[in-house]
Amino acid sequence: MLKIENLHVFYGGIHALKGISMEVPEGKIVTLIGANGAGKSTTLRTIVGLVKPREGKIIYRGEDITGKPSHYIVRKGIALVPEGRKVFVNLTVYENLLMGGYNRPEDDEFRKDLEYVFSLFPRLAERKNQLAGTLSGGEQQMLALGRALMSRPKLMMLDEPSLGLAPKLVEDVFKSIQEIHQNGTTILLIEQNAMAALQIADYGYVLETGRIVLEGTGEELLHNEDVKKAYLGG
């Protein structure tokens, strides 16, 4: 579904991605793990066109989307739940969800998806007309997920959705990711919590200072000695 070939990204003089190649097959959960500053967020931001690569290709469903504007890429069915939630604090919860479905008419399908989001996160329904800035951190994370769902993405990319959440909420978030996946959305997941990510992932990549150093099925990586040492706490 998504194929990345030899991607190089620079921030001024900083060489953040040094030739990354990876693949996300349709219907799978793929995870990208790595230490702080490895280039995980940069990878996702490059896929959605917020950062332009200096070299390399991004192919999405057979189309070369490298260097295309973000709104074009997003309209093709890719959604990003950005690092740190980034809900629109000055809009209401409901308006945030509308923003997620910005390019869709408010028809029956749209209302059905809204119902789905509210069934997944009943909290959001209760707080529909409240400014998003007044939600708790966990509620904002749910809103960020719901907002991404409203575009009805074929590929949903999540950048550390469990960041800063209490263990119980982390569990909830992972459950909802799996549920979204079972409803037919392909997932590309970034996580600090490598254990949890690898447990639900079909395939994983390990990123180290801008390079992919290891890849394999979730199972393989979970039992890999290097991964255990570096990311699973021994």
Partner: protein
């Protein structure tokens, strides 16, 4: 001061303030979404009066056709300025954009002097707006009532767009977080152009009514109303559309009342706005409607 002169001055102040309000909204919307103080905004307003002048006076097209055309042309000018001057420096440091805005302002003023001539041109008032009313000793030019009337229509239209439509929602989203708005699938550059178009359209409404009120135009006429509308935008809370409208109307009333109560200080009339600006910046930098939102 008698009650009737007071009422008369209040109406005058309200009508002047309406014009500031229309111009201030363009400042505040552009600042709100790209954090740029568009110093050329007053000059855009000046251009609108020449568009109206050519349509209405030179080509003798009826006002209800020539004025809307002038407003649309001004909106197009706003888009061209955004695309041609501001978009290329969008990712540059903010000071570059500010300097660009000052450059655009000088360009429009000198373009006006070269092309239209520096001498003021008389602006004829359409008959409908030219009456003078007298009710119980209060004399009011009809225009002073028409101006708030048209302003109210344009304000309602603007508030509707900003607070009730998708584009308006995208504008508000961009004002907080441009990149995240992009990944919602919003064509951000398109929304920014739309904002310039809307702001310029409103400035044209204000400008044309200004031209009827005074009734003459010249290439430097945009400077003072532009600066005062900027003060009004800051007074109302820069970035806030409702605030700009309220700030503009209040500024107009304060200015006229100052002259009415202290006629011997009438020469300082233009200074009132700037004293107000200093006061606002010292005592309430966020302005009337400026709110501090949770991050």
């Amino acid at each position: 001061m008698t009650l009737s002169t007071f009422i008369q001055q209040l109406i005058n102040g309200f009508s002047l303030g309406s014009l500031y309000a229309l111009i201030a909204i363009g400042y505040t919307m552009v600042y709100g979404i790209i954090r740029l103080i568009n110093f050329a905004h007053g000059d855009v307003m000046m251009m609108s009066t020449y568009f109206a002048f050519f349509g209405y006076i030179i080509f003798r097209i009826p006002w209800y056709i020539s004025f809307p055309i002038a407003m649309i042309l001004t909106a197009v000018l706003g888009i061209l300025i955004d695309r041609g001057a501001y978009k290329p420096v969008r990712n540059a440091p903010r000071i570059s954009a500010l300097i660009t805005a000052i450059g655009v302002s000088f360009f429009l003023e000198n373009f006006g002097i070269v092309v239209f001539g520096g001498r003021p041109k008389g602006f004829r008032i359409p008959k409908l707006f030219g009456h003078i009313f007298e009710v119980k000793g209060v004399t009011v030019p009809a225009l002073s009532l028409w101006i708030p009337f048209f302003t109210a229509i344009f304000l309602v239209l603007t508030f509707y767009i900003v607070y009730r439509t998708r584009r308006g929602m995208a504008m508000r989203a961009i004002s907080r977080d441009m990149d995240t708005t992009r990944i919602m699938g919003v064509d951000v550059d398109g929304i920014i152009s739309f904002t310039f178009a809307l702001g310029s359209f409103l400035a044209a409404a204000g400008g044309i009514m200004w031209a009827m009120k005074y009734p003459q135009i010249n290439p430097l006429m945009g400077i003072i109303p532009g600066l005062k509308a900027f003060v009004a935008a800051v007074f109302g809370g820069i970035g806030n559309v409702v605030g700009a409208a309220i700030g503009g109307i209040l500024l107009g009333i304060i200015e006229i009342m100052f002259v009415a109560f202290f006629p011997q200080l009438a020469g300082y009339r233009d200074a009132v706005a700037f004293f107000l600006l200093i006061g606002v910046l010292i005592f309430k930098p966020t302005g009337i409607m400026g709110e501090v939102l949770p991050e």
